[in-house]
């Protein structure tokens, strides 16, 4: 049995439910029910509980960017002028759909982003035209992901 900081109790059955749905959000509840040996209604109620606890943050269809021609992933450390408000820069980054993550980070960069591009040329265009054009961006450092080996959620 496991207790989180907020007092959510997650037993072995909850874990099995979560693991099945984290793998495939469309797994039928009744199928899970058969696998864990309790009724569908029980699963349903446990899911309600887990949702209410905030642990379940929704479900998403995952699309493969490569099929859309997005073959390059990169991480970019962004240096901002001291004078510029970071939220304003984030607001501008929000308008660039290729920016799929954005963090305020400790260390030498003000902002750290993850970005998807079709190829290196497209990446260069994004950096030189979209990112550098944002007010306050003084410099960027780019790291291209040659291959992603791990991509998962935290273990339950």
């Amino acid at each position: 049995m496991k207790v989180s900081d907020k007092g959510i109790y997650i037993d072995g059955i909850d874990k099995k439910i979560l693991r099945a749905l984290m793998e495939d959000a469309r797994t039928p509840i009744l199928e899970i029910a058969r696998n864990v040996g309790i009724s569908g209604a029980a699963i349903h109620q446990r899911l309600k509980k887990l949702e209410k606890s905030g642990l379940l943050a929704g479900s998403k269809f995952i699309i493969n960017p490569k099929v859309l021609g997005y073959n390059t992933m990169a991480f970019v450390g962004v240096y901002l002028d001291k004078a510029v408000s970071n939220p304003e820069a984030v607001k501008q980054l929000q308008r660039v759909p290729e920016v799929i993550e954005c963090h305020y980070t400790t260390g030498e960069w003000s902002i750290f982003i993850k970005i998807l591009s079709k190829d290196n040329e497209h990446l260069m265009h994004l950096l030189n035209t979209e990112i550098q054009a944002i007010k306050g961006v003084s410099r960027t450092e780019t790291f291209i992901s040659l291959q992603q080996q791990i991509n998962r959620q935290i273990k339950v």
Copy 2:
């Protein structure tokens, strides 16, 4: 109308379907059907096509790590000794559940990882005990995400 490199045609209806399901994988097909004005069976046929194209890479329940007490996200650049095989290091990283992403990257690091920890103390433990213990890891550079502002998929 949009054509990807692999010849997948995605029209406006496909986009609406994808956007609905990327937001919530459990959206009933018939609800989408009502919104876009075609029959449920048609949606179903389009989903089959999209799945066959490889664009749909599955669906996942998203869990909120904070509820499990994982409050700190960090990025870690890992330096590996030249002599060590990177795949072996990745294999070891795979065994650390807090490592949720792992990339081979260009630039000064051999490997770049995203990691979740409960707090700074836990992060330190992960770095000093789990990561540094891996054969071939010579040094790490850590950037803590103070706040994540953007987290999304590529736009369809």
